[in-house]
């Protein structure tokens, strides 16, 4: 899988998270190019111009939040990508919403580290092979 991953987008308004998340992802996908944007609106602008293989999307953001980004993407023609919702929310309705959204591969709880990214990907593969 690692060989296929070329571009990864990280969307979060917390710049410390962006720094730490980038470090973590670099370790897992050393060959991938990693981009970061501070909120949903810039994420959509970025995706107009670029295709990415994986997007890590925060939910609670100013200007345009994670749900609004997903709504907008559902309307667009685009290349397939793996979207992981990343959040520190404990609101159970957020997990339900994520599970029922066809664009979302999985919900990952912060902190974002190598093990929870790996297990999310594994889970997705398992469900697809069934």
């Amino acid at each position: 899988m690692a060989s296929k991953i070329k571009k990864i987008l990280l969307v979060d308004d917390d710049d410390i998270f962006l720094v730490l998340g980038t470090i973590t992802i670099e370790k897992l996908f050393p060959e991938a190019e990693i981009f970061t944007v501070p909120h949903g609106e810039e994420a959509l602008e970025f995706l107009e111009e670029n295709d990415v293989d994986i997007m890590f999307l925060d939910l609670n953001m100013p200007i345009l939040d994670g749900w609004e980004v997903l709504e907008e993407l559902a309307k667009r023609e685009r290349k397939r990508m793996a979207i992981f919702v990343v959040t520190s929310s404990i609101d159970p309705s957020d997990r339900e919403k994520a599970n029922s959204n066809p664009l979302v591969y999985d919900l990952i709880e912060k902190p974002l580290d190598e093990s929870n990214i790996k297990s999310a990907i594994k889970k997705k593969r398992a469900s697809r092979s069934k």
Partner: protein, 652 residues
């Protein structure tokens, strides 16, 4: 034939006993006299002592006395004795004479009236009997003659119709004794056809014009020469009728009261308001009022308001004119209630107090009665009834019944109030729960994102312990965590304080100046120009801590997000509106796209400025909660590139 012969012939041929007498006795009697007294001849009579002719011996002496005194007497009734001792009644008349020689004698005549007397005695007895009956019975008896009118009434009849004597009635037209002359015509027609009527209820009219209900029976009889008599009896049943009516009234009132008290058992609170109005309608119609209503007193603020009202078709509502009335302005309409007494005003225009009088007259009220609603000796309001079309008097019984009604209404009202309060409490509690739940998600989110960063930083610092960039991030993160904890305290305190909010009078200008003082440093650093237009007299009711927090939040937001290098002006102004006070905080910054963000503006956890990482989405949420907790509301206007204005409305 000479004169004395003629006289003798007459004397002997008439039926009366003729006699001449002097002091010593009879001198002459005629034949009829002798026969009358049962003697065989006139001579035999003359030979008998005069005293023997009287049943009571002293009668002769009395009659002689009378003759001597008056010279004559006529038709004295005397009981005489016949020769055989039988009695008979005679009428005796006599004249006294004196002759030329000075001798006194008298002539007289006696008529036997025994038979006559017996018949008349009989007639007298039956007459008296009738009189007795007429006098002593409680019915008015009468006889009328068709074509002539009333010819006889008894004493009771006179009394019943309020006349001085029977003659007055005989002079009246019979129809004048009826309230409606048609009644009389119908009764006569029926009598002529049927011969009798019995037990008819008729409304009759007294001499003074007042009326009463009579129970009437009559028969038709025919006399000689085709005269038609209508004889009858009348009984005054006004009292009976009144007590019947009173009974009926009480039964109806009982029905109303039972309806009133049973209707509300197990009634859901949302139906109660409507039902109270329909109960007022029932009561209002029952006492024939034009409006029925409930007012509730607020003994803390000393104001009172009309909370429920029914009004008759064609009558105007007075509900809107009767809100937030000052109790002190209408002492005559209020004070007695506070002591548990009803207030009855038979004629509103005679009310002593100008303000009360004018208010009631403006509502068209002629008479009114209001009964206090007492909840354990505390007056919580009153139920009242207006009469607009007519003046209305209330009897003591009616007032008593209204008091019972009021007691039932108190129960209903307090139950309705309690249930409403409970439901309000439930809504508040649910809202509070929702707010706390939302809040706990947001704070835990804020905590977790900081903690997640701390874990990540710990990992990278392990590998690169001397990296100053990571150390700086560590500091930022711990500060953010600290802020999140402060926010928690603020919100928890808010929930506590809302429940025990003690309103005080806060001067707006002083509060705003205090907030500006606190932010003096940042204002100077950013060269912000603050313009204040707040009249010094404006004050607000509420918690001073909340006002300080609200203005601090709006002013620091304006400084942080509403100013730029070109636009450094912030205007804070206030003015009195009709019922509210409007406070505005205006900046000339970038503005907000309200089409996109208005809904989110006051939501917990919403943030709008990605550059400022310290925002936790708490500020405007708290500002809105605090404003609403004090009965105010918040709104905003904004135009992109022109600026934003926050508008706060508080009760004046």
């Amino acid at each position: 034939m000479d004169a004395s012969q003629l006289l003798e012939s007459i004397n002997q041929n008439i039926n009366e006993g003729i006699y001449r007498s002097d002091e010593k006795g009879l001198i002459y009697v005629n034949h009829a006299f002798a026969q009358m007294f049962g003697y065989s001849s006139e001579e035999e009579v003359l030979a008998t002592s005069s005293l023997k002719l009287y049943k009571e011996p002293n009668v002769r002496a009395r009659l002689v006395e009378k003759l001597k005194e008056f010279g004559s007497f006529e038709n004295e009734e005397v009981t005489f004795l016949k020769r055989n001792g039988d009695e008979f009644y005679g009428l005796i008349s006599s004249v006294i004479y004196k002759d030329e020689k000075g001798n006194t004698f008298w002539d007289g005549a006696i008529r036997d009236v025994t038979e006559l007397r017996e018949t008349s005695q009989l007639a007298k007895t039956s007459d008296r009997l009738l009189q007795n009956i007429s006098k002593n019975i409680n019915e008015g008896l009468y006889r009328t003659v068709i074509g002539k009118g009333v010819v006889y009434v008894n004493d009771e009849f006179v009394r019943m119709f309020g006349y001085n004597d029977a003659e007055e009635i005989y002079d009246k037209n019979v129809e004048d004794l009826y309230l409606d002359s048609v009644d009389r015509k119908n009764l006569v027609r029926e009598l002529m056809m049927e011969g009798a009527i019995s037990n008819r209820e008729v409304e009759l009219k007294r001499k003074d014009g007042t009326t009463f209900w009579g129970y009437m029976s009559s028969i038709r009889t025919e006399g000689e020469g085709g005269i038609i008599f209508l004889d009858g009896a009348i009984r005054d049943i006004t009292k009976q009728k009144e007590s019947d009516e009173a009974l009926k009234y009480q039964a109806e009132m009982q029905k109303v009261l039972i309806n009133l008290s049973s209707k509300y058992i197990n009634m859901p609170v949302e139906l109660m308001d409507e039902s109270i109005v329909s109960s007022l309608e029932e009561l209002g119609k029952f006492v024939n009022a034009d409006r029925a209503y409930i007012f509730e007193y607020n003994l803390d603020t000393k104001f009172y308001s009309n909370t429920y009202e029914w009004y008759r078709k064609g009558i105007t509502s007075a509900l809107n004119d009767s809100q937030n009335l000052k109790m002190d302005d209408y002492p005559l309409l209020v004070n007695d209630h506070l002591n548990g007494k009803p207030i009855f005003i038979p004629d509103v225009s005679l009310l002593d107090e100008k303000k009360s009088r004018e208010m009631l007259l403006a509502q068209g009220i002629k008479s009114l009665i209001t009964v206090p609603l007492m909840d354990h000796n505390v007056c919580i309001g009153f139920v009242g009834f207006d009469s607009v079309r007519n003046f209305r008097k209330y009897s003591e019984d009616e007032i008593l019944l209204l008091k019972v009604t009021a007691e039932i209404l108190v129960n209903i009202l307090t139950r309705s109030r309690n249930q409403k309060q409970m439901e309000k409490l439930l809504v508040t509690t649910n809202l509070q729960n929702k707010r706390l739940k939302d809040f706990s998600y947001i704070t835990s989110h804020n905590f977790r994102s900081s903690v997640a960063n701390l874990i990540g930083l710990a990992n990278v610092l392990e590998e690169d312990p001397m990296n100053t960039e990571y150390l700086g991030m560590l500091k930022t993160t711990t500060n953010k965590l600290n802020d999140a904890i402060d926010n928690i305290n603020e919100l928890l305190n808010f929930e506590n304080e809302v429940s025990k909010l003690e309103p005080e009078n806060i001067n707006l200008l002083e509060t705003v100046n205090g907030v500006l003082e606190l932010n003096n440093q940042i204002i100077k650093e950013n060269e912000i120009e603050i313009k204040i237009e707040i009249p010094s007299g404006i004050s607000l009711n509420g918690s001073s801590a909340y006002f300080a927090s609200i203005f601090n939040n709006l002013i620091t937001n304006a400084i942080k997000y509403g100013t730029s290098k070109e636009a450094k002006k912030i205007e804070i102004s206030a003015k009195k509106l009709n019922k509210e006070i409007l406070v505005m905080v205006k900046d000339h910054g970038l503005g907000i796209d309200l089409g996109r963000f208005k809904e989110k503006m006051f939501k917990l956890g919403s943030r709008f400025h990605s550059e400022e990482s310290e925002g936790q989405g708490m500020g405007l949420f708290m500002t809105k909660q605090q404003t609403e907790a004090m009965g105010g509301r918040i709104d905003l206007e904004s135009e992109i590139d022109k600026g934003t204005t926050f508008k706060l409305y508080f009760n004046g």
